[in-house]
């Protein structure tokens, strides 16, 4: 019967509207988190740039000590891969793309004969790799949305321990870089040995004074102490950028979901109206038909 169809449609519209409410709320929450995580990212910039500058200066002052700590190792038997993903889903391709990049990296390392050990951040990461038969050595969860420096320290301590003990010769990081609110991309970088990129450290003033820098204590000792701190700084930055990217993708995904719900609601409303119109027409036809039959029968 036509009335039955109308009722089902009305129920579906209600469901779609309820879902829309949720996606809209998530969109707004994510949008407010974007601003916050971007602010945290820019608050971190001074520290991160300063850290890079100091590492660079110390490395240039003592190149022999630097050689042990910096640069790409010639032979990598075992590498540690750190993948930074999110704790929650409903964020578009954010988790999938970074996790896939990590998987590819592990695959290509294996092809080169390197054993890869996986350390992951984010609740979504470990199940993904376990399902694909990759063992995850350690999974850090619970702070991907709002990482604190203490969280970064925990991750860094775990990663650095393997490197210092000589268990791994290289530490690679797979994470999402936050270029701007409109552009994020997955990137793989080497964390350890530290990569000193002169272009990455904008040192306006110190650039012209290299070679005249005094050190306290001497650069070799400084560099040794500096390495774990620099690692913490880089990991913290990756976590912050990951969080910012996560919120951005979630906002975008939820905005799209809200739009879809709107569209679906509209289509369903149209179908429902037509069904109602149809049933009314049928009813009128029946009444008219009945009346006509009665009149002719008289």
């Amino acid at each position: 019967m036509a009335g039955g169809q109308e009722r089902t449609l009305r129920r579906r519209i209600k469901t779609v509207q309820a879902t829309r409410k949720i996606t809209k709320a998530m969109e707004l929450i994510a949008a407010s988190q974007i601003t916050r995580s971007q602010a945290r990212l820019s608050a971190n910039r001074g520290y991160r740039d300063g850290m890079r500058r100091i590492v660079l200066e110390a490395a240039q002052a003592d190149s022999t000590a630097a050689r042990h700590l910096l640069g790409t190792p010639e032979r990598v038997e075992r590498a540690l891969v750190l993948v930074v993903a999110g704790d929650r889903g409903l964020s578009g391709a954010y988790n999938a793309s970074v996790l896939r990049a990590g998987e590819h990296l592990v695959g290509s390392l294996r092809a080169q004969g390197t054993t890869a050990r996986l350390v992951v951040v984010g609740k979504k990461a470990a199940p993904y790799y376990r399902f694909r038969g990759l063992s995850v050595e350690r999974s850090f969860v619970g702070f991907a949305d709002r990482p604190t420096f203490a969280d970064a320290r925990d991750v860094a301590a775990h990663v650095a321990a393997s490197f210092v003990e000589g268990d791994v010769q290289q530490v690679l990081l797979v994470s999402t870089r936050f270029h701007s609110a409109g552009s994020q991309s997955v990137a793989t970088v080497q964390l350890l040995p530290l990569v000193v990129d002169a272009t990455a450290a904008p040192s306006e003033a110190s650039a012209g004074l290299r070679g005249y820098t005094e050190f306290e204590p001497e650069p070799e000792r400084l560099l040794r102490e500096l390495t774990p701190r620099a690692l913490e700084s880089e990991i913290f930055r990756a976590l912050l950028e990951g969080a910012a990217s996560f919120h951005t993708s979630q906002q975008r995904a939820m905005a799209a979901a809200t739009d879809n719900a709107d569209e679906l609601g509209q289509t369903l409303t149209r179908i429902m109206n037509r069904a109602r119109q149809d049933s009314i027409t049928t009813e009128i036809m029946e009444i008219v038909g009945g009346a006509e039959a009665l009149r002719t029968g008289k």
Binding site: A43, G50, F149, A205, E225, R229
Partner: protein
């Protein structure tokens, strides 16, 4: 005149940024004072109280270890001093009763770790205790200076 700009940054925030007359800190090699036109230097900061002398009086920070960079450049010989600290706080922001309570709690934890012979826990507890102790000392210094 040559000027001095001091910046104290942590990974989560910029704690201080502005003109200063001087900067007092402690590195592995000892006490260190930075004045305008100080030679370009890079070094570490041991857990201690770092004081920035400003026109409005000294501002003190409890710095739980970090690094510093002093750069003097340009024709004006302007000096920029940056302190990078993993954890730092303004001494006037320290809640003394809370810091005291934290210290006592950590002392108990150190004692517990010592009796259990748990080396990892002991190291952690000793480090945390050192931080709590510095925080408390810094807060007391701030109070007595007032």
């Amino acid at each position: 005149m040559a000027s001095l700009v001091v910046e104290l940054v942590t990974p989560e925030a910029v704690l201080y940024a502005g003109e200063a007359q001087g900067l007092m800190l402690r590195s592995t090699d000892g006490e260190f004072t930075v004045l305008p036109e100080h030679a370009t230097t890079v070094g570490d900061v041991v857990p201690s109280v770092v004081t920035v002398a400003t026109a409005a009086g000294p501002v003190a920070f409890a710095v739980h270890g970090g690094y510093f960079e002093v750069v003097t450049a340009g024709s004006a010989r302007d000096t920029r001093a940056t302190i990078l600290a993993g954890v730092a706080e303004r001494t006037s922001d320290i809640d003394v009763p809370r810091a005291q309570a934290a210290k006592e709690r950590l002392e108990a934890r150190v004692a517990a770790a010592r009796t259990d012979d748990d080396h990892a826990a002991l190291t952690l507890a000793v480090e945390a205790l050192a931080r709590a102790d510095l925080r408390l000392r810094a807060a007391h210094e701030a109070l007595s200076a007032r």
